[in-house]
Symmetry: none
Subunit: 225 residues, 4 copies
Amino acid sequence: MSAGLPRTARGEETKRKLIEAAEQVFSRFGYADASISRITDAAGIGQGTFYLYFDSKLQIFNELVEDLNHRVRLAMSAASAATENRIDSERAGFRAFFQFTADHPALYRVIREAEFVSPGALRLHYTRIVEGYIAGLRAAGAAGEISDIDPTVAAWALMGIGEMIGMRWVLWGDQVSGDDEAVEGSGADPFASGTRAVPEHVFEQMMRFIEGALGATRHAEVRNP
Amino acid sequence: MSAGLPRTARGEETKRKLIEAAEQVFSRFGYADASISRITDAAGIGQGTFYLYFDSKLQIFNELVEDLNHRVRLAMSAASAATENRIDSERAGFRAFFQFTADHPALYRVIREAEFVSPGALRLHYTRIVEGYIAGLRAAGAAGEISDIDPTVAAWALMGIGEMIGMRWVLWGDQVSGDDEAVEGSGADPFASGTRAVPEHVFEQMMRFIEGALGATRHAEVRNP
Amino acid sequence: MSAGLPRTARGEETKRKLIEAAEQVFSRFGYADASISRITDAAGIGQGTFYLYFDSKLQIFNELVEDLNHRVRLAMSAASAATENRIDSERAGFRAFFQFTADHPALYRVIREAEFVSPGALRLHYTRIVEGYIAGLRAAGAAGEISDIDPTVAAWALMGIGEMIGMRWVLWGDQVSGDDEAVEGSGADPFASGTRAVPEHVFEQMMRFIEGALGATRHAEVRNP
Amino acid sequence: MSAGLPRTARGEETKRKLIEAAEQVFSRFGYADASISRITDAAGIGQGTFYLYFDSKLQIFNELVEDLNHRVRLAMSAASAATENRIDSERAGFRAFFQFTADHPALYRVIREAEFVSPGALRLHYTRIVEGYIAGLRAAGAAGEISDIDPTVAAWALMGIGEMIGMRWVLWGDQVSGDDEAVEGSGADPFASGTRAVPEHVFEQMMRFIEGALGATRHAEVRNP
DNA sequence: AATGAATGAGTGTTCATTCAT
DNA sequence: TATGAATGAACACTCATTCAT
């Protein structure tokens, strides 16, 4: 009765197709309008088959959030691994984050809606990313690279900056549509167009903002003394 | 066929009750699960009456977003009006924002979900708030109170900081619930408890973060000698 | 509680506006989709006022059928009054009927739907028209102008001919749309175009059909011997 | 989202039950009052199941009209196949038509209402039947069996005769109910009683009418010497 | 493992009618 | 006489989920 792990290679494949379909469908329609049948259609399998792998729509949603969270953290940590100081690390991490956002808009859309659908998943997602920031900030603080600001508060602030800048410049792209008429329609796909990349100028200004915030000593002077 | 403005005092009253009920219901259930009947029940009126004032669920949603947006901006600008410099202004504005968040959690919940429901309303909301920041930052920059950072980028960054800190400390309060079990449930009300106020320490650290980010001149020197 | 006759000139005027609006609205939307509010909107009066003059939607429908029936019979009898023999009379009557159909498409649309809405009204309508035919045919039979065919049967047959030819050439006009695709749509207005007049050739062939049917002696020879 | 063809024998059976139920329900209640739930109740299946086979109420309505049209034409052509001349052919065709009407009153009721519901279906229905008439009349004209009257006009006239005589004597039976009281009620079932067969006398007079109309040569001379 | 059929509760929305003013 | 507000039953339609095959 309860969905379990796939026991065969064929089952493995089916489950994988379902998760991939779910990312597309949730991203495109949102949780409420992402019907199971849309997911199974996108995956090219029968409706009933869904329940061999997931107990409910909520479960596959949570697994997808988990999956995206894992991948975005991997991308960020991989990017910042090769760096030599905190600011370079932030720089690389943000670049990776924006790139991931461009490649997987589902991250945003799904996460934001998770507020209602699965608050636990939402909090877990943010908390995990923040934990990575905190560790990095704490180490940088101990090394004197940045000021002695509270790493937790700074971490949440950084998280917010990345989310908002990413939303504004990656997801929206050039289409800000602040005109009143746009409010009327609801079906429009807000991701239909847009540059989907943070302009260099914006990125640099954001980094300058962050450097000042963290009280980073000017790299040129400090790095490799 | 099309909903119109109330033409009598009685109608005015009814529409007001509907908007108030909508804030509660959308905030509690989210857009998808906020049925019209829940709204009319909460307002204490008949289901059909709803359609005398709104054409659809989407329309009352948009009006509510508009309403909240208007009120939060009012609260923020009122708070920062009496200040003498940009940093004090930010300080007062953020306090007002967090207070509004505590009083009207609907703002967050509804806005975040609007990404799918009514993207135009969402963008308009953020854009309008950001415009207020930009004006303030530009003036402060011209006055030499802050660095010459791009006001638009800084404004979006500030917006993100406020949103994330507010979510973490006002909405979640003490309950971060990073435990896995919480992921399972979906019906839990994440606002059932929580301190609902940003701790002073957090607020001060956030302000220090912002001051550094903006390159604020006087204060930075005074506060951390 | 029960709607009564108007007691003032103002009331008379209001009721007249309602009947006229009803003809337009029933004709355009059909009984089911002709809401009271559409009728009162078309009449330019308040919704509640409707019930001062009619007890229900059905009642105004029946009155409208009654009204149209009265007018079409008047038009037909007026036209055939000045004729000298049965065939000329039929000819004039059919012309008047087709003209009335062109001017008041509501007659057809409303009557045909009355099958379900108000069967009594439907039967009364047809029966009354047929009674006129019967009287004329009986007199013509007695006068030896036509064969001794049963006037009742012949009358219903004539009624059917008029209805079908009128539908085909007046209501449909040139748009027969026998293509399968047309079946899909439902909202299309079948009266949007069309010639709205029976072509002369069709009318003459129809009359020839009828003359043969009634066994009318060739006019040229018989008329004014 | 879109209803498809049944893929299993069980599905085939279910769809068949739905069409049969639809004939009964549309015939009894008319389109507007024939709710989906009435149809599924009559079919003995769940409400949701309906949408596995039809996209909407309109679609099953159109399929039913198509179905009835097909069957009535089959009945008519089968009846007239074994005849030797046009008049016998008409005679057999009309008998078959009246018989079908008696067996399937839905034909009338549904078709007449189709004027509003699905004008395309209505026109297609009449046009197809008329086409059969035209072919027969044209052949008979070429063979000299009837006069050289325009077959198209004559065909529509015949169609009208059959429809009106059928309505009057098959559907209404003995109950003409021209009394005013009958106009008031709407829920009365006009098919509750009635002879449901065209009396022989009426049929013969109708045929005499038609023979004269078509200028049939042999029969006219033989029958009324 | 896979599937298509079936379900029924639930949704947004309409509308004839009543009523207080 | 006139009206706008209010109502609640009813409807077409959707969808997560169960089940027999």
